[in-house]
């Protein structure tokens, strides 16, 4: 089953754009689509998921990461290194 990966971002968030770019590159060769969401449009859901800061990464309705996203963390989460660009 294809995973649903959501990235919750906020306006003026310092690390959100970078995290989105990193994720898109990381997921580009996988059968996974990244949904980026403005957290202010989904505050109730964000609270239910336990999000306290952005960027927040949610995989299949489970919060797996909050805050600045590193390649090392992406490796931990998705298990393989990013394809060379």
């Amino acid at each position: 089953m294809t995973s649903i990966i959501e990235l919750f971002c906020a306006p003026h968030c310092r690390h959100c754009d970078t995290a989105a770019q990193q994720l898109r590159a990381w997921l580009s060769e996988r059968d996974v689509s990244l949904q980026t969401k403005n957290i202010l449009d989904h505050v109730d859901r964000a609270v239910d998921l336990g999000i306290l800061r952005t960027p927040a990464l949610v995989v299949d309705d489970e919060l797996v990461h909050q805050g600045q996203l590193s390649d090392r963390r992406l490796m931990q989460l998705f298990g393989a290194s990013r394809c060379p660009e």
């Binding site: 306006p11 003026h12 968030c13 202010l40 964000a46 306290l52 800061r53």
Partner: protein, 132 residues
Amino acid sequence: MPGISIGEAAERTGLTADTLRYYEKIALLPRIARDPGGRRRYDQRDLSRLRFIQRAQRCNFSLKEIGQLLQLRNTQEAVRPQVQRLTEHKLEEIKTQLADLTHLQAELELLLNLCRGSDQGCPIIEGLDQNA
């Protein structure tokens, strides 16, 4: 004579002496012990009961409801079924209020964190606007 005066009880609870006398008059408190001069002496049990009344009032219980709830505190025997039902109902209300407060707490923490992490603008204002 053990216990504390009505003035001390008022000071400890933040209630007025008139309120303490009123609670006794409407039987929210049992008859308070008197010293030989006829002055009220409040013991620990009375103070505990007053704190319960204050907590219940903060949860928007009426004095009548509080009186019924206090029966649970005072008797080891089975309380009347309607008192039990009232207590169960109030317990559910408190759980709902608690869930609402917990959600609100998390939402405010999130919005405050977003505000702190922002160089420009405050997402709290935007978030409140969108929830309105």
